[in-house]
């Protein structure tokens, strides 16, 4: 491995890491601003112009609060829980293609950290691992409400992983590849997968709400029943880590949905823009387009949160097992039939 390669990847990892953290931090502000807008009030506007420094103030508050570890908890696991939640929400972005390769001097730099040829499955694995942080944290707290939250999180995540996986299978049948990079390249211009897999996208969208524990699927932390759910016993920065992990997961889910179904960094007229701006700034515009799509999805997540009330637990299970899984299987069958017909023509 040459030095330039290591520096290039290291710089890319740092940039993606910083972008993820910034987006997650400002998502907390955006959430409250959007909540304010949807409920016809102002939202936070004291810290800085228009409340711009609110995330900083919140972060400082989290750091300086007292860290309480309950006496009867198992301490190592109590600390491991939020760390794991944060870790799993950060490693997913490694396989997302953030843009076409950019050319710096004579070097072609890929804007994807790792082009694993099982990229989608890697994301799927990371998502399925995400529940461990919540489960371990909830169990280690040694509190009934935390345990209930943890168990709800586990069963919810297992139930919704199945339709998610099935909707991805239909997408794979349409794209013929498991590599995120190739999927993004296939959607050049306006040739987005949403037009081929509309049903698959809706299933994937609902499942990603469930996997990120967002309303209407936020039963693991349902305040009206479980105090705070799995993070009842957490305070200070460990609580902050759980909250941050949720926003990071939302960012990751939005990035995955934009890449798989909404063309990633592709946009109509990109060839013209690329030829005008050259091989350095053209792909950066593409990256900006991807970020805009991600922000649109994050806004959608928040919009739904302040619109749809929380499900009851049996409704959640019914939706997962009796509606989404049959729909996803039907989607696979339909996709198969359509592909066969088009191959014959």
């Amino acid at each position: 491995m040459e030095l330039a390669f290591i520096i290039e990847k290291f710089a890319l990892v740092t940039v993606i890491f910083l972008i993820s953290l910034t987006v997650a931090a400002y998502s907390t502000l955006a959430e409250r601003k959007i909540a304010g807008y949807l409920q016809d009030r102002v939202g936070p506007n004291r810290a800085g112009p228009g409340g711009m420094f609110q995330p900083l103030a919140d972060g400082l508050k989290m750091f300086f609060k007292e860290e309480i570890i309950p006496t009867d908890s198992s301490k190592a696991l109590f600390i491991l829980g939020p760390s794991l939640a944060l870790l799993t929400s950060l490693i997913g972005s490694a396989v997302i293609p953030w843009g076409e390769s950019i050319q710096i001097a004579d070097r072609l730099v890929s804007l994807q950290i790792a082009d694993v040829n099982v990229g989608i499955l890697y994301i799927f694995g990371v998502v399925s691992l995400g529940v461990y942080g919540i489960m371990i944290g909830g169990w280690a707290s040694n509190n009934k409400f935390s345990l209930m939250g943890a168990i709800r999180a586990a069963s919810q995540s297992i139930s919704y992983e199945i339709p998610m996986g099935l909707s991805i299978i239909a997408l794979l049948m349409a794209t013929n590849t498991l590599s995120m990079k190739e999927i993004a390249e296939q959607q050049h211009g306006m040739n987005w997968n949403i037009f081929y897999q509309p049903l698959g996208f809706i299933i994937f969208l609902v499942c990603s709400f469930a996997e990120t524990n967002r309303t209407p699927f936020d039963l693991p932390e349902c305040e009206t029943e479980l105090v705070g759910g799995y993070h009842t016993e957490y305070s200070g920065f460990k609580m902050g880590a759980f909250m941050f992990a949720e926003y990071l997961n939302m960012f990751l889910a939005s990035a995955v949905m934009s890449t798989l179904y909404f063309g990633g960094y592709n946009y109509p007229g990109m060839d013209w823009v690329n030829s005008m701006l050259g091989p350095l700034f053209g792909p950066l515009i593409g990256m900006g387009v991807l970020l805009v799509k991600i922000f649109a999805f994050i806004f959608f997540f928040m919009w739904v949160r302040w619109t749809v009330p929380r499900f009851r637990y049996d409704q959640l299970m019914n939706l997962g097992w009796k509606v989404l899984i049959p729909l996803a299987i039907a989607n696979i069958v339909i996709t198969g039939i359509v592909i066969t017909i088009f191959d014959k023509l």
Partner: protein, 168 residues
């Protein structure tokens, strides 16, 4: 580089597998088992079997172990709640352990180093090749095992349904 990496990961596998047995708390046991499975994933990656690695990661670490953890958390077993075993069981345990040690020592005596594994084709474990082989050369075993899985699934649903009827 590769061989020393293998020995390191193999050491980790055995170390965490032993911790699974020696951990007093069942939940800790399951967590160590998850780490053990993770080391298996690394083994697969070292063998360039990416698909198998990621499937091991998703199915074993991500799904099956979540279920294990789920059940154990529901049962909420503690170190005390397992209780002490009777003397007879302890005796049986000692005898079985001795037999295992004799077998292990006996097989370790006739051990000789095997040829290092050389992959004939480097991209053997990639998804494309795996899929092609599964659907041509090994089509019958593949279909038979999928029918086996299907029947297991139907059986599981049937068992779950029966319990509901008994409640009524």
């Amino acid at each position: 580089m590769s061989i020393s990496l293998f020995y390191f990961v193999a050491f980790l596998s055995i170390f965490f597998a032993l911790l699974v047995i020696f951990a007093k708390n069942p939940v800790h046991s399951v967590l160590y088992l998850i780490v053990t499975f993770f080391t298996f994933t690394i083994h697969y990656i070292l063998l360039n079997a990416q698909f198998l690695a990621i499937v091991n990661f998703i199915v074993y670490m991500g799904a099956i172990m979540v279920l294990f953890l789920f059940v154990l958390m529901l049962l909420n077993l503690n170190e005390g709640s397992i209780g002490s075993k009777s003397n007879l069981i302890k005796m049986i345990g000692v005898i079985a352990g001795m037999c295992l040690i004799i077998t292990l020592v006996g097989s370790a005596r006739v051990l000789n180093a095997s040829e290092p594994l050389v992959l004939q084709t480097q991209d053997l474990g990639l998804v494309k090749n795996l899929g092609k082989v599964l659907f041509s050369k090994f089509l019958l075993p593949f279909e038979v095992s999928s029918i086996l899985l299907l029947s297991a699934m139907v059986g599981a649903v049937l068992l779950a349904k029966k319990e509901i009827k008994q409640v009524k």
